[in-house]
């Protein structure tokens, strides 16, 4: 029976089963499930409510930022400044809610010619003001990154590397390099936001899931998401077909910084204190999570689920080393190996396909 042209065109290369197996994310998820089962049966502590609560809460800080980072990576860029943005936003939140922007004898406003103490809100700002200030800071940094990358044309690596240093230094200035552990009138609200629980699940988990649903929806179902993938696939083609490449790139870096701001607020709430090394090294962990989850650093592919899966694997590895009695310094080796294996697996599959 000869096959007609219409039948050929209507053929599907993948059904849903083979589609699933073709994705790196699926395999990483399998590894997570397998490893979790292994830990459940070989250790006493893994399966306990307390441990699971800790794991699900701890992975959220990386996961939230990994969602934003995935967007940037899909466009073929990278954002090394997220850890420092987290620090800066935490400081802005702390300083705003604490209310007193001068600490100690040295007033950071003095070089600007302003006499201190200068109070933003009498007695300390409300949590809403603090959150608004922190997120506005994040968006501003993201916009600066995006404009330098998209309109001035600097490489993303260089721009965000510079911003990494700048943002952290500004964070230290804002707090005068001191630990802040008192958050003004809404102190309890902030602690409940980051450290509280609802129905026995820690609050950050809900924020992460909602954020993941939004990002996942945007990537798959919105025109903006389709354009983000197009820019990563062939930026020149995207420009030729009329896609507003530069504004979209700025938006993407703003979103990434925004997620760093959200993580800053949540982590500060959980820690109950802000130190100047908060978020140090976070950028590499977030990038690792995104890559393990299936985002290709060359651009063009990535998913919201992948960001969650990558962050989850890193957290489970970290958690399990303690439970298995392995020296905690092995953490780096295992996470590094996970990155290499996840990407190697994906390359091998693609290599065979392109033969």
């Amino acid at each position: 029976m000869a096959i007609t042209l219409d039948q050929t065109i209507a053929q599907r290369q993948h059904n849903w089963r083979s589609s699933l197996l073709a994705h790196q994310t699926f395999w990483v998820l399998l590894v997570i499930i397998a490893y979790s089962l292994f830990l459940y049966f070989t250790t006493n502590a893994f399966g306990t409510g307390a441990n699971l609560y800790n794991i699900t809460r701890n992975f959220t800080f990386t996961a939230i930022i990994a969602l934003g980072m995935t967007l940037v990576i899909i466009t073929g860029g990278i954002d090394l400044s997220v850890g420092s943005v987290l620090c800066l936003c935490s400081m802005v939140l702390a300083v705003t809610m604490h209310g007193d922007v001068t600490f100690g004898p040295y007033n950071w406003l003095t070089p600007l010619g302003l006499e201190g103490p200068y109070t933003v809100c009498e007695g300390g700002c409300s949590i809403n003001t603090g959150i608004a200030a922190a997120l506005a800071t994040a968006l501003l940094v993201g916009a600066l990154n995006g404009i330098m990358i998209a309109y001035v044309g600097f490489p993303p690596f260089v721009v965000t590397l510079g911003m990494l240093s700048i943002a952290r230094s500004l964070g230290m200035i804002a707090s005068n390099n001191q630990t802040v552990f008192q958050f003004g009138p809404d102190h309890e609200k902030l602690l409940a936001l980051g450290g509280g629980a609802t129905f026995g699940i820690s609050n950050p988990v809900f924020y992460t899931l909602v954020l993941a649903a939004i990002v996942g929806f945007v990537l798959r179902w919105s025109r903006f998401g389709r354009h983000v993938f197009a820019i990563g696939g062939n930026e020149h083609a995207a420009t030729l077909t009329g896609i507003p490449v530069k504004p979209i790139k700025v938006a993407v870096y703003m979103i990434c910084s925004f997620t760093a701001g959200i993580a800053a607020i949540v982590e500060t709430g959980w820690l109950g204190a802000v130190t100047t090394n908060i978020g140090a090294g976070m950028e590499l962990q977030v990038i690792a999570a995104a890559v393990i989850g299936g985002a290709n650093l060359a651009g063009g592919s990535g998913t919201a689920l992948g960001a969650l899966v990558g962050a989850a694997l890193i957290e489970i590895i970290r958690n399990s080393l303690g439970l298995l009695g392995i020296n905690a310094f092995w953490q780096g080796s295992f996470i590094g190996a996970a990155i290499l294996l996840a990407v190697l697996f994906d390359r091998l599959r693609n290599f065979r396909q392109s033969e």
């Binding site: 599907r12 025109r223 993938f229 083609a237 009329g242």
Partner: protein
């Protein structure tokens, strides 16, 4: 009335004069073959019509009205579609996604509108069937052959009512059967009253489908003749410079 009139169009990139004082007209329902050696200025000329470059000098009139095209989107709004030499496709997206790139269909209302995958797949499938190409809308571009990619790039020009279709080497990397299909498609477009510019190195293709041939050499127009009043030998001579002008 001519669909498009180029008057003394020039384009230079720094010291390099890519297109030098070229004037031509495009009539509706006519296929113009644009020929010339590498570096003669054919792609640059066509890219100016498509809105990629602004001419350094000269005017463009469409239906008698002057137009200035700053961006490819503006050219598209005037009904000018182009198939680029490198096809301008995104490897990581499906064939349907590439066809609708920049013009994605959505369903729903306002902020609640989402991508209309089913309509885009269906419409892309229809366009591929019209081109008699075995291209599947759901397949990723990176897994496709040259001919299939060509079909995707050509299908893009069929999305809206085009007035002018520009094709830069559309038959360069495809099979014999596919070439025949592309040429048939060009005839089909011509019959609908669309003006077509075909850049091609292949003499048989141009002589089979074009009504007129324009030859560029080193940025200048050296010939603008009806196909019936010239021959492959004469055109070859014009391209290489053996014949000065015609």
């Amino acid at each position: 009335m001519a669909v498009l009139e180029l008057g003394n169009i020039s384009k230079h990139f720094g010291a390099i004069q890519a297109v030098n004082d070229v004037s031509l007209t495009l009539e509706a329902g006519q296929v113009v073959g644009l020929m010339g050696d590498n570096g003669a200025g054919k792609s640059t000329l066509v890219k100016m019509i498509a809105g990629n470059f602004l001419p350094s000098h000269g005017t463009m009139h469409m239906d008698g009205r002057e137009i200035v095209l700053h961006r490819p989107v503006e050219a598209r709004r005037h009904g000018i579609e182009i198939v680029h030499q490198d096809l301008a496709l995104c490897n990581n997206l499906t064939a349907a996604a590439n066809v609708f790139l920049g013009r994605e269909l959505r369903r729903g209302v306002g902020p609640l509108s989402v991508l209309d995958y089913s309509t885009m797949y269906r419409r892309a499938g229809q366009l591929f069937a019209e081109l008699k190409s075995e291209t599947r809308p759901r397949d990723l571009i990176k897994q496709m052959s040259g001919g299939q990619r060509q079909a995707v790039a050509i299908a893009r020009t069929m999305l809206s009512k085009a007035r002018i279709v520009l094709m830069d080497e559309p038959t360069a990397a495809i099979s014999v059967r596919q070439v025949a299909e592309v040429l048939n498609h060009i005839r089909h477009l011509r019959d609908q009253g669309i003006a077509i510019v075909l850049i091609s190195h292949r003499m048989p293709d141009v002589f089979s489908v074009a009504d007129r041939v324009i030859v560029l050499r080193r940025g200048r127009k050296v010939a603008d003749k009806a196909i019936a009043s010239t021959s492959p030998e004469e055109v070859t001579g014009l391209i290489t410079g053996a014949i000065e002008a015609a």
